[in-house]
């Protein structure tokens, strides 16, 4: 036994074929659900369609000069005055629904992602600040969060939009205002937990400066719940924007989002011109479902509690 007293030999390497990064592990766990993978693929296609809309859409539905009301409310598959075929029909302005949906996706996704990113930035910073500063700062921020969370999003957004007026930017602002609190609460929650972890103490012990501890050690470990909240909030923001547009406060009518397309077509529902709101509705549904599918799986994969 005396051989071992010379100090432990270098510990054996655990058998692992390739270096497993947290990212790779995450990818493989995510891919475990076929439904989620399907959602992801679907979402990617949707994003692609939205991004490429100006190149692949048959018409620019936002250019009034390209529309002709004489082509209004044509059935799917009709051929319009200028000879183009409206595969999904047209709305009351003679707007090609297919193009309208592609561009509408652009708006909806921009609004959803834009508001989610901005809200995340604002919320995460405030949440981090609350968790790290503690005391009065913390309680002030958290009271603000409570206030925001207890106030119904839809009402708050209605008020803000009534105040700011229409426009994509204003919708984004309104959504940021109603959503930041979710991020703040999430980040604060996980930061408070992570903060007490020993690796943070170790970093303090190594005399690393506070900002480095926050941004290099604390923040990355608070990200998973944030990502989950983020995806869910993108879906929520898209739905909320649609509802706001439906209630008449949202994006401008000449640049309709999916929600506004639905709202426009809503009036034609009873008269049998279903396509004006049905197809955008389906597009909206598929988008939100795909995001939620992805978010759902993220929640499972990133939730440490379900892991043993």
């Amino acid at each position: 036994m005396s051989t071992t007293t010379a100090g432990a030999p270098p510990a054996a390497v655990p058998p692992a074929a390739r270096v497993e990064t947290p990212f790779r592990r995450f990818v493989s766990e995510f891919a475990a659900s076929r439904l989620a993978l399907f959602g992801l693929v679907l979402f990617c296609i949707i994003v692609l369609v939205a991004v490429l809309a100006p190149w692949i859409a048959p018409q620019n539905p936002y250019d009034l000069a390209q529309l002709d009301i004489m082509d209004g409310r044509l059935e799917p598959g009709s051929v319009g005055g200028s000879g183009i075929t409206y595969w999904l029909g047209t709305d009351d302005q003679g707007r090609d629904m297919l193009s309208g949906i592609m561009y509408g996706l652009r708006i909806s996704l921009t609004v959803g992602a834009g508001s989610a990113i901005l809200a995340c930035l604002v919320g995460a910073s405030l949440g981090m600040l609350a968790a790290y500063a503690g005391g009065r700062t913390d309680s002030l921020i958290m009271r603000l969060v409570d206030l925001q969370l207890s106030f119904p999003a839809i009402l708050a957004a209605l008020m803000i939009l009534a105040f700011l007026g229409k426009g994509i930017l204003n919708v984004v602002i309104a959504l940021v205002v109603v959503e930041w609190a979710y991020y703040a609460r999430t980040v604060r929650g996980s930061a408070l937990v992570e903060r007490r972890r020993e690796y943070i103490e170790a970093a303090q012990c190594l005399a690393l400066p506070t900002h480095r501890i926050i941004f290099r050690h604390l923040l990355p470990n608070c990200l998973p719940p944030l990502i989950v909240v983020g995806t869910m909030q993108v879906a929520r923001a898209i739905a909320l924007e649609a509802t706001l547009s439906f209630l008449g406060l949202g994006v401008p009518i000449t640049e309709p989002s999916l929600g506004l397309l639905i709202a426009n077509g809503y009036e034609y529902m009873l008269s049998g011109k279903y396509w004006i709101s049905f197809y955008p509705g389906i597009a909206l549904l598929v988008t939100i479902v795909s995001i939620n599918l992805v978010g759902d799986q993220l929640r499972d994969v990133l939730n440490p509690r379900l892991k043993k």
Binding site: T4, T5, G7, A8, P9, P10, A11, V13, P14, A16, V19, E20, T21, P22, R25, S139, R197, E198, Y199, E201, A202, A203, Q204, C205, L206, A207, L208, R212, R216, H217, P220, N221
Partner: protein
């Protein structure tokens, strides 16, 4: 073999304390908010919750010494360790590092003092940042503090890993790919990388299996010899402490109740709590013994008993114990104990 051991201890006798705690206390409180104060003003009984995690502790550790800190859960061992390591300021008292008050040191000096004291943590899972590679975990601080020349970091990290008994080829991996023992070695390499001379080991082996525990304990001893390190070794495992320490400090509910050289404590425990503790420790040598158990529960630090904290569980308690806090008094050379029985005798 024992010669290896005696040398540093001899050196330890005369030298100045590397760290000294003077009447150090730590209180955690949750101050009443406005509503609370208002209600209190109205005469309703509300109490501010104050935890006296550490209550007036004096302790000095000399260079090259291994001091074992023993006590039951929640008695304030970790808190004390954190204050020694400089990551938590004391509420009262002074932490003196090589003759300088840590709290009064200025930026650069404070940083240097902080770096010279490092901590090894209990939980090998929580003490490593899961999002950094091993090389980053070990190399971050030396690089940040400029302890290694530019370009020399790779080799430096390799050295640290090798010294902690890890294969440097593993440094591109993430913590979750290691076993508990290996992680503990990473933690040790991280601490050693900033060239400390004092290590606070907070339950550093408690989470490990016996066979792995032996490996890590051996590593500690090896490093002590090689790097002339001083240790504050916190543990609730008396066996480990007995094996490793030169001096043992026993805490109960935030206070030091006994302090003596290792052999002395195990041979002639003075404080009733120490005696109970020693009696309860299962020993592999003691076969089919009859357990008895110290009576009573460990009191809450929120609401500690008056006088001597141990009196509700002490079979020898008398009136004075309930009223007066016993002071830590010398009962033999180098052996101090806080018990009124010593006065009575």
């Amino acid at each position: 073999m024992s010669a290896v051991l005696e040398a540093p201890r001899a050196a330890a006798q005369g030298s100045v304390p590397i760290i000294e705690l003077r009447g150090v206390s730590k209180r955690f409180s949750n101050p009443l908010d406005f509503a609370g104060r208002l209600v209190k003003r109205l005469g309703v009984k509300v109490r501010e919750d104050v935890v006296h995690a550490v209550d007036g502790v004096d302790l000095s550790v000399r260079k090259g010494e291994v001091v074992g800190l023993v006590g039951e859960s929640g008695c304030g061992k970790s808190t004390l360790g954190r204050m020694v390591a400089g990551i938590m300021p004391p509420s009262d008292g002074q932490v003196v590092w090589r003759g300088q008050d840590l709290t009064k040191l200025s930026g650069a000096d404070a940083k240097r003092a902080k770096l010279r004291t490092q901590m090894i943590f209990q939980d090998p899972y929580a003490s490593l940042n899961p999002r950094l590679k091993v090389a980053e975990i070990v190399g971050e601080a030396p690089q940040y503090h400029g302890l290694v020349p530019r370009g020399g970091l790779e080799a430096y990290v390799d050295d640290q890993l090798r010294r902690a008994g890890l294969d440097p080829s593993l440094k591109r991996r993430y913590p979750h790919q290691f076993s508990g023992g290996q992680r503990q070695r990473i933690g040790i390499a991280r601490a050693l990388a900033v060239q400390p001379d004092f290590l606070v080991c907070d339950e550093a082996v408690a989470a490990l299996d016996v066979s792995i525990q032996a490996q890590i304990l051996n590593l500690f001893m090896k490093l002590r010899r090689e790097l002339d390190l001083t240790y504050l070794f916190i543990s609730h495992d008396l066996g480990v402490v007995e094996h490793l320490s030169d001096r043992v400090v026993i805490m109960y509910l935030g206070r030091v109740v006994e302090e003596a050289p290792s052999e002395e404590v195990f041979a002639r425990p003075n404080h009733p709590y120490t005696r109970a503790l020693l009696a309860e420790v299962p020993r592999i040598e003691a076969r089919k013994r009859v357990f008895a158990g110290v009576q009573g529960e460990i009191p809450s630090p929120l609401n500690p008993p008056s006088g001597c904290h141990f009196h509700p569980r002490c079979p020898f308690a008398f009136d004075r114990c309930r009223a007066e806090r016993p002071a830590l008094k010398q009962v033999a050379p180098g052996h101090r104990s806080a018990c009124h029985l010593n006065d009575a005798a």
